[in-house]
């Protein structure tokens, strides 16, 4: 979706504001939102791509005015209700619906911490052939899907060079919509800054993007 989350290359967003000795969470509720998102993820009712898409669906004006963890909260509520773990009425009342049975979390506390320590790899050992080789010239496709994509607008239609092949990964454009993992090769693709931004960029500067096979065509 050509949403406001796709920010690369926008201007006039203001100065970068560094905070000295920044805490990990600025309020206890931020830590809770973070933890609830991770803990409810153990139910496997959604995946990382779907969670990103939920945050991208926040209307643009609100997206820009909300803090980071407000967005996470909005995204979490969206996932919990859309995937049937809680109802909107329960969110509003804060109380389980009458007659609903009490569940048991799928992972114990230590299993949950183990899963965090182990991670959730998106790489897949499947024998899908890469369509491109290191050093090959490629063009990023000009696509404008209304669903989730990880191909930023600023790279679409631009010429680049395959730097390296990272192996086959879950494809977010389908996975975010529960339409399958569709694993395919991801490459580091090198773009000259001038190809992306014109003469105002320095001749030798470069931008590297990670791109799935489906985002690329031979040039």
């Amino acid at each position: 979706m050509n949403g406001v989350h796709d920010m690369g290359g926008m201007q006039d967003m203001g100065p970068i504001q560094e905070e000295k000795n920044e805490p990990v969470f600025h309020h206890p509720w931020e830590g809770l939102v973070f933890a609830m998102y991770r803990a409810t993820g153990a139910w496997r009712k959604w995946n990382l791509d779907a969670a990103r898409y939920a945050r991208e669906m926040i209307p643009p004006a609100e997206y820009l005015s909300m803090s980071y963890y407000e967005k996470w909260y909005a995204g979490l509520v969206d996932l919990l209700t859309a995937r049937g773990l809680v109802t909107r009425a329960e969110i509003e009342s804060g109380i389980p619906a009458k007659g609903s049975s009490k569940a048991t979390p799928p992972l114990t506390v230590s299993q949950l911490l183990e899963s965090v320590a182990k991670g959730t790899p998106a790489k897949r050992s499947v024998s899908v052939a890469p369509r491109f080789q290191s050093g090959q010239r490629v063009r990023a496709r000009n696509i404008n899907p209304v669903g989730h994509t990880r191909l930023p607008r600023y790279a679409r239609g631009k010429l680049g060079t395959i730097d390296r092949d990272y192996g086959a990964f879950v494809f977010p454009d389908s996975n975010a919509h529960f339409l399958g993992e569709n694993p395919q090769h991801v490459y580091a693709v090198r773009f000259a800054a001038r190809e992306l931004w014109g003469d105002q960029a320095k001749l030798q500067d470069t931008v590297y993007l990670s791109m799935w096979d489906n985002y690329l065509e031979p040039a």
Binding site: A35, R52, E70, V77, T206
Partner: protein, 237 residues
């Protein structure tokens, strides 16, 4: 359905504004240095989140102990000191550096780090000729196991938008002016690969041991928005 959600989000955003205002009021009170205890009114977001927490616990969807353990992990156990140890080892041990640049997952796991949002690591090396910096223009991708959760500026619109179009301007805001002939290489984290910058080892550190080297390494230098400053001759780290 759509309008319901929009209303809900609008309410959340309005609540956020109110929360910010009440925080400012709170900060003002503290500046007066009053010793008396004053009632702190919880913000609307705090109430909403508490309400969601009790709902999820009541429904048996999460355990409170799990939430506490997760918060504790990211507040106290995972953070940029992990990344600093990786960098210091690479500066100290050429064989480790070689492994780090060719198989970062293996090298980082050797020091006991890894996991969520660091499953597929790539380390990029800064040299006198190439300066690497990392961004996620689409969201907030960041190598959690080695750097912890990202700072607010990394997730903010100014950094996400300008890093790719004006990296030198962004670096200048961090106080780093690079020579004209250096190549600036921006890594936009658009997939599940996470990047860690291996900063240049500063001058004046030849005699330092690994612990002393690690103490010099900053979070920002591993994102690639600053350098690790040189250590003055005769100075101590």
């Amino acid at each position: 359905m759509k309008s319901t959600r929009r209303d809900f989000l609008t309410t959340a955003a309005t609540a956020a504004g109110a929360a910010a205002a009440s925080n400012l009021a709170g900060a003002e009170n503290h500046e007066h240095g009053h010793e008396h205890s004053h009632q702190v009114v919880p913000s609307d977001m705090a109430l909403r989140v508490k309400s969601l927490e009790s709902l999820l616990v009541e429904k048996g969807l999460v355990e409170r102990a799990a939430l506490d353990a997760l918060i504790d992990t990211y507040e106290h156990k995972v953070g940029p000191r992990n990344g600093a140890r990786v960098v210091a080892r690479a500066w100290f041990d050429p064989a480790y550096k070689e492994l780090l640049l060719t198989d970062a997952d293996k090298a980082i796991a050797e020091l006991g780090y890894g996991g969520t949002q660091g499953e597929h690591m790539v380390v990029v090396e800064n040299t006198p000729a190439v300066h690497n910096m990392v961004v996620c223009t689409l969201c907030s991708c960041y190598p959690w196991p080695v750097l912890g959760l990202p700072p607010v500026w990394y997730k903010s619109a100014p950094y996400r938008s300008r890093s790719v179009i004006d990296p030198r301007g962004v670096l200048r805001e961090f106080g780093l002016e690079l020579p004209e002939d250096v190549e600036v290489r921006v890594w936009d984290s658009t997939a599940e690969v996470r990047y860690l910058v291996l900063p240049q080892r500063p001058a004046g550190t030849e005699t330092l041991n690994e612990d002393a080297l690690a103490a010099l390494v900053t979070r920002d230098s591993m994102i690639g928005v600053t350098k690790v400053p040189d250590v003055p001759q005769g100075g101590t780290a």
